[in-house]
Point group: C2
Chain length 419, copies 2
């Protein structure tokens, strides 16, 4: 770092990269030397002095102090960042997929090379969450972290509830507005939330997390019937990422839709807003809410990380959150079948006498107590929609009960966990 | 710092001090050498190796690296901390009154002596807020910070709403539960919130704040009628601290009750919970929620600050949030009369024909448009309760209108701002 000016190379000049360049313009002690993009000839609203289409040119440039990666995806980012780290460059990245899949490798390499990797923007966009967990809240033992971590799916669920239209119509609407991609799989099937809860679990519990062992369910099966019945019972439906410590010290990490009480704080998180709740001792429960994506919010977190590195290197000021918590301990991750939850079941049954009785006895045989049961009239095809909310039960018991009910032609059309 | 062990002297072993001692016990690299208390002979549930009743013994002890002050109040804490700073000790404090009144003096002295003063616990208890503003969110220009910053008053307002009983009864209940002190002035008249919003304004806007210029109103005048009428119109009443940048670059800083829409996030903050909302660019709006006081939450923030100092001094790890933003610029603070708000007026009037007409014309003469008006029947004494909500108007206009109405025997019994 010459003359107290931090020299940056940025990989990616999309929405987020553009926001970062704009937000950095007011800081005299930070200079963007180079940007790497896919298409060098594209017209851009911002001015960067040198643009290349080869990201390794940045990773190998001896003048650059910090590589800022806001391109996303594993290929070529993994190789580019590893090269940059070997060249003793600090890293700021917003790449949740890369960190969830290759975090251990990247952080080991960074420790060997004595450089810092910061990634506040990788989880919950503009919300400060990685920093507070590592600094202000560092004296705590956490037992739970839970959040609405994906703006696209929260937007779709909010629209389904407000406009009363189907998942597919809301998805199209989200795609038109730019909230969802042409191939929405990463968001709607819960992959994005899975990467984020993997990263959060790592820093909250100080354990290595195998993202492939995380139970994952998206929102594509949620119907208008689910949303209306949930509402009638006083609930809304949200997609959450959850990680909690079980009594046997296993970590229960999962991504799936849940019912949340309509009067809860979680139910108020609408549209593309994100939230993260932490529970630990001695602090108790704290909640962080804000914009989970977009140019400004993501740039805010990326710039915070860059300023932290600038401050730490120059020693003019000292504000640096540490790199990822170092740990060699692999987490024991719980099987979803061994977890306990309350459940909402949507059931479609022939309007035969005794159906409700059968539901009750199948549940009882499987150690499941019922909390509410609601029959929603008889349809034209002589079937009835019945919704059930159970008390806290084992997942394996509820899966058994669902199987038994289906065998008796009492079709469980949806199962959603309740928190 | 010998053998990589940070040596602590703690001033105050009340609820918070006890929590700090407990929470530090699991950290091998931190040792509490001495504690100063008022009564040395009191039985305590925790074990500290040396207890004194002279806090200067800690400030002057050459072995101590960090003085942790959780006693509260200006006297003797100001002199003790100044002595400690001159002796090159770092400071961690939860003392909002001291920082709001003497922050400039303390931070100047700390800069001269090259020591750090951290104070995460001084605002909003266990909620990380000072750290995130100074680190993750540091690239932002903020235009507003607002919060429910006092648990006692929020508890009282919640009880008034839930139980339908008077302010005084709820205060007694809060005193019985230990949520309010025997002399509740500091909380219920808004002084505590004023100190906290002064500290937040300083770090959010990078300006010196004169706490004596902050407009302050407590909750002692809030009646059941206010709460019921607010509810009927779709609002709840909360005590907030607010600081925002005006167009003329003045800061509008104030503490008073407000009406908040019952469906808003703010309305969900019940009992002793605190919340802080920040608005800035590029991040947008973020909100931090959690326990605002108590042994565990306050200890969490104090311990976070101690660990930050331990990490920074030892250079084994680097996580330190900086000291207070240095600035020599005094804020221009706006007069409440020049601010704009929407208003809720509770009016008691003789049941004379034309009263509503008079209210309307007095408001119109003072440039005030009405949004809602609600007459709540006729009482036995032939007076009527009328509530009015105005559109956004100047405070000076509303104050003039209130004066004019009172002169015509239309008594404005309460005025509460609406957000």
């Amino acid at each position: 770092m010459e003359n107290n000016v931090l020299k940056i190379g940025i990989i990616g000049l999309g929405v987020v990269g553009t926001g970062v360049v704009k937000a950095l313009s007011k800081f005299d002690n930070i200079k963007i030397l180079k940007a790497a993009v896919r298409n060098k000839n594209k017209k851009r609203e911002i001015d960067v002095q040198y643009i290349t289409d080869d990201p390794f040119e940045i990773a190998n440039d001896p003048e650059i102090d910090v590589v800022v990666e806001v391109a996303g995806g594993v290929d070529p980012c993994l190789d580019v960042l590893k090269t940059a780290i070997k060249n003793k460059k600090h890293i700021v990245t917003a790449n949740k997929e890369l960190l969830a899949k290759f975090g251990d490798e990247i952080f080991s390499l960074a420790n060997e090379n004595n450089v810092t990797v910061l990634y506040e923007a990788a989880v919950a966009g503009g919300i400060p969450i990685i920093g507070p967990i590592k600094t202000t809240l560092r004296g705590n033992e956490f037992n739970k972290v839970m959040g609405i971590l994906n703006g696209t799916t929260n937007y779709i669920l909010t629209k389904m509830e407000e406009d009363g239209v189907s998942y597919l119509e809301c998805l199209k609407d989200a795609q038109k507005l730019g909230y969802a991609e042409a191939d929405p799989t990463n968001d709607v099937e819960g992959f994005d939330t899975m990467f984020k809860i993997a990263i959060l679990s790592n820093i909250v519990f100080h354990k290595k997390i195998d993202y492939k062992k995380i139970y994952r369910e998206g929102i594509t099966k949620i119907t208008q019937d689910d949303i209306k019945c949930a509402k009638e019972l006083g609930y809304k439906i949200k997609l959450i990422g959850l990680a909690q410590k079980l009594e046997n010290d296993e970590l229960d990490i999962r991504v799936h839709p849940v019912l949340v009480e309509e009067n809860s704080m979680l139910a108020k998180i609408s549209n593309a807003i994100n939230t993260v709740q932490l529970e630990g001792a001695p602090v108790g429960s704290v909640m962080f809410t804000g914009p989970g994506a977009g140019e400004g919010p993501t740039a805010s977190s990326v710039v915070g990380d860059i300023l932290a590195i600038a401050a730490e290197i120059s020693y003019t000021d000292t504000i640096l959150p540490s790199t990822r918590v170092k740990t060699d301990v692999q987490a024991k991750q719980a099987d979803i079948l061994n977890t306990k939850n309350s459940y909402f079941l949507a059931i479609n049954a022939q309007n035969a006498r005794g159906t409700i009785g059968t539901i009750g006895s199948v549940c009882a045989e499987n150690n499941i107590n019922l909390q509410s049961i609601l029959q929603k009239g008889i349809k034209e095809d002589n079937t009835a929609l019945i919704v059930v909310i159970t008390e806290t039960s084992y997942e394996k018991d509820i899966q058994n009960a669902v199987k038994k009910l289906n065998e008796q032609n009492i079709k469980v059309t949806n199962l959603i966990r309740v928190i």
